[in-house]
């Protein structure tokens, strides 16, 4: 039908009917009946009447007329812009162009932005700030919605309140805090030490240090809430270091009241060397069981650009024993690096200490990183694995033999 219409349209247009027009018609619905009844007085083959003919450049007039007069007067004297102001202008233009640029930037952020060594570094930093701003805005919006909902609820006439009868005073949060602190204090006397090695500042960027401290705060929190906390030691923590600054930023006044041990000394000076075990994913040795007499060291390092062997080098230098988690042994690894975040390490170690159950402990490895759990230790599965491998290998061998046969004739 449509093609018939098109054909007709062509005939109509191509001077068979010089007066033909498509006034008020949609191109897909070329009504046969109306074409035939077209009267001679219809206009030429433009799409609209002269009176309502489109002025295609009208937008230019609008754009030019919309200009405020004063601006055009002040523009002629170009002012030397400071580099900061120029950068702000550039950012504004990028934002208008629809790039991921935050709306507001502090002086400090502007400075970091301008110090970025390359275009791509600048882009990345802006995107980071933009997303941060977006999340913050969304959080704020949600908070406000919540507040409004609460207000509405309050305004509704509430039922006459029954007097609550309960033997306890409702003081959950602070009571819990007290209980946790009590436990943490106990762990500082009797607990098993756990060391965080804070000597990686040079290997990290400022953002990585900030991430590290955030992870440490999370680990400290989950340690405090556990049934039997570790006695946490922050070793090699210098007073004027970036780590320290970030800690103060994170904890504020609470930093001085934390029930942990902070020292600028090295762990080898504090503890006997033969009891120390450095946990690192690069270690050739795999941890078999959690030893309650050992003192485990975790490197406080976030390495976004995977730096292999940095913490292993640290342990080698000091001649310490090392160990890696038996991830391969218990999990069918899927993707991702084998280094885990500090809070995940903390969860795993706490669970191991309490239960000695690897399956439970390794639940804290992110699910995306592995496909499943190996029920039995791998050495028990070895036979089946070997069988599977030989089967696979046998198959592959056949494929290899077939492939050249497929490929050569083509060449």
């Amino acid at each position: 039908m449509q093609s018939a219409n098109m054909l007709l349209k062509k005939i109509v247009r191509s001077s068979v009917l010089p007066f033909a027009a498509q006034h008020g018609m949609k191109k897909d619905l070329f009504p046969l009946s109306r074409t035939l009844s077209l009267s001679l007085c219809l206009k030429q083959d433009n799409s609209c009447k002269p009176s309502e003919k489109l002025d295609l450049d009208a937008w230019k007039k609008v754009m030019k007329s919309g200009l405020p007069e004063e601006v055009s007067e002040t523009v002629p004297e170009p002012q030397e812009l400071s580099s900061l102001a120029a950068a702000r202008q550039t950012l504004e233009m990028w934002r208008l162009a629809g790039r991921s640029v935050p709306e507001n930037m502090s002086e400090e952020q502007m400075k970091t932005f301008m110090e970025c060594p390359s275009k791509s570094a600048k882009k990345k930093y802006l995107r980071f700030l933009y997303l941060k701003e977006l999340y913050r805005k969304n959080d704020k919006r949600k908070m406000e919605e919540k507040r409004e909902r609460k207000l509405e609820e309050r305004e509704q006439p509430s039922k006459p309140e029954e007097t609550k009868k309960s033997p306890f005073v409702c003081l959950w949060a602070s009571t819990m805090d007290k209980a946790y602190n009590w436990r943490a204090a106990q762990s500082m006397i009797f607990g098993q030490p756990l060391i965080f090695d804070m000597s990686f500042e040079k290997e990290m960027s400022a953002r990585e240090v900030a991430n590290t401290v955030k992870q440490l705060a999370l680990s400290e929190g989950c340690n405090r809430r556990s049934a039997d906390p570790f006695h946490i030691h922050f070793c090699n923590l210098k007073d004027d270091s970036l780590y320290h600054k970030e800690f103060v930023k994170q904890y504020r006044e609470a930093w001085g009241k934390l029930l942990i041990t902070v020292t600028d000394r090295c762990y080898t000076e504090v503890f006997p060397k033969d009891k120390l075990v450095y946990l690192t994913a690069d270690s050739p040795k795999v941890m078999k069981t959690f030893d309650h007499d050992k003192i485990y060291i975790v490197g406080s390092m976030v390495d976004k650009s995977i730096k292999r062997g940095v913490s292993l080098a640290r342990a080698k230098r000091l001649g310490l024993e090392t160990a890696a988690l038996p991830l391969e042994k218990y999990l069918l690894w899927n993707t991702g690096a084998k280094n885990l975040t500090l809070d995940q390490m903390m969860h795993i170690l706490l669970t191991l200490k309490d239960t000695a159950d690897w399956k439970k402990a390794l639940e804290f490895v992110p699910k995306r990183k592995y496909c499943g759990f190996v029920n039995k230790p791998v050495n028990e599965l070895r036979k089946t694995l070997d069988l599977m491998n030989t089967l696979k290998f046998g198959k592959r061998q056949q494929e290899v033999q077939k492939e050249p046969a497929k490929n050569y004739p083509k060449k």
Partner: protein, 467 residues
């Protein structure tokens, strides 16, 4: 979303907008699809008019999108109009718009305007390489060779890497032109290829050849050829440069390998100071070696065989003619195991010197050190491409030196034939870079469609000689 074929009236746009599921981004999506379908510019104009009437303004990103469409279709007068509007509206533009303007105007008779826009863009940021590319091409197209070279040099000074297209355009546009100055500049480009170990592709090579042959009174003749393994050019019988480094380069490289690759940020990451010292005294006492072998790498060549047998085969192949061999391995090779039989290890140790590193140390770094210490004649055997070690070197100059040295000294081994025998691919005797002797030029090039990895070098050459 299919853009309409004809300019629409405001009501029609409104109707379309309301039918779209996300009316707030309707215009943006519509303009994008117009760019994709290369719609007629009038359709876009009618949309802009509709927007202007609706909001009294057209947003900057819409202007940029419209500009993209104009540039795509080469609508010069429209580009100029949009530029005027943008300039009146905004104090500065962002780099994307500048790039579009440059690209659009450089292809027209308004190309000088593109140059002024490039100047403007420089005020806010280093222009992109494509921005420079358009301007340089426009200048050379209009015989402004001097200007083109000025821009090119400025680009290099700002560390903007020129595209091969730009380099090629210089040769294309300089065809048949006379002038010692011009010739010097173009030779400069060839030397740039040499220094950065860039290989031109086939069409670029043809441009170079045609330019040489078109130099008035130059009497240059070009031939395509393959260089013999000996490094002799079959056309002019000229012997190509060998890949030996100069004394200074050699010392520089070995120093940098020790500093950046072996020590790096922390000596303990790859070895330990004690071990490295032990290795150094070991090497110094036995120098010089002729071939250094990466034992573990070689031992894996046939997966179905015992690893020590593989290694023994390789050593037997290489041990001829009294060559002094050094095999690097790890301590675990010494413990009698399924893959490493003690008797075979003993046999091998009588034929070659062995150094066993700690199991957690990296033996590759020792390989590099021992080869470099032994001198220029020494080769090393491994299938490894050594990319991770190259990456440890901090500046590109040393990396180029490393690649050059690697090409000349690495013997790779592979399996071939029905019996799957171990074969060795000897290192290149000649250096695979653009080179000249004044009256000859030899330029390696790659086929356009040939996939080339960074470690591969082209086998095809352009030989140019002056009669």
């Amino acid at each position: 979303l299919q853009p309409p074929e004809k300019p629409l009236q405001a009501e029609e746009w409104n109707r379309l907008r309301e039918n779209f599921q996300l009316p707030e981004i309707f215009e943006e999506v519509m303009l994008n699809s117009m760019i994709r379908c290369n719609s007629h510019i009038d359709v876009a104009k009618s949309l802009l008019t509709h927007m202007a009437k609706r909001n009294g303004d057209v947003a900057y990103n819409m202007l940029v999108k419209y500009l993209t469409l104009c540039v795509q279709q080469g609508q010069v007068s429209e580009i100029l109009d949009v530029y005027d509007i943008m300039k009146a509206r905004f104090k500065i533009l962002e780099i994307g718009a500048y790039n579009l303007l440059i690209k659009g105007l450089s292809n027209s008779d308004q190309w000088r305007m593109a140059l002024t826009i490039l100047e403007e863009a420089k005020k806010i940021m280093i222009p992109s390489r494509t921005g420079y590319e358009s301007c340089i091409k426009a200048a050379s197209r209009h015989q402004e060779t001097k200007l083109a070279f000025e821009l090119y040099n400025e680009m290099l000074a700002k560390n903007v890497v020129p595209t091969l297209d730009v380099l090629q355009s210089f040769f294309d546009f300089s065809k048949g032109m006379k002038g010692a100055e011009l010739q010097k500049e173009l030779f400069g480009i060839l030397l740039y290829l040499r220094e950065n170990q860039i290989y031109p592709h086939e069409t670029f090579m043809r441009s170079i050849k045609l330019w040489f042959e078109s130099i008035p009174g130059g009497n240059w003749r070009g031939h395509l050829t393959n260089i013999k393994d000996s490094g002799q050019c079959p056309v002019c019988n000229h012997q190509l440069e060998d890949s030996d480094l100069t004394e200074e380069e050699y010392n520089n490289l070995s120093e940098r390998i020790i500093r950046d690759v072996i020590h790096g940020t922390d000596t303990f990451r790859k070895t330990s100071p004690q071990e490295f010292e032990a290795f150094q005294t070991f090497v110094e006492n036995r120098l010089p070696f002729d071939i250094v072998i990466d034992g573990l790498n070689v031992s894996h060549i046939k997966p179905r065989r015992m690893q020590c047998e593989n290694l023994l085969d390789a050593i037997n192949c290489l041990a001829k003619e009294n060559a002094r061999l050094l095999v690097l391995g790890r301590k675990h090779m010494l413990t009698n195991s399924a893959n490493w039989k003690r008797e075979i290890m003993k046999e091998m140790q009588s034929k070659a010197d062995f150094f066993f590193a700690e199991n957690i140390s990296e033996d590759d770094t020792f390989l590099l050190y021992a080869t470099l210490r032994s001198g220029k004649h020494c080769k090393f055997v491994t299938r490894d491409f050594l990319r991770d070690h190259k990456a440890c070197l901090s500046d590109s100059l040393t990396r180029h030196l490393f690649r050059k040295w690697q090409r000349g000294h690495q013997t790779a081994l592979f399996l071939s034939g029905e019996g799957r025998r171990i074969k060795f691919a000897p290192a290149f005797r000649y250096d695979c870079v653009v080179q000249t002797t004044g009256d000859t030029w030899h330029i390696p090039y790659k086929d356009v469609f040939e996939e080339k990895y960074s470690y591969q070098v082209p086998r095809k050459w352009l030989c140019i000689q002056q009669k």
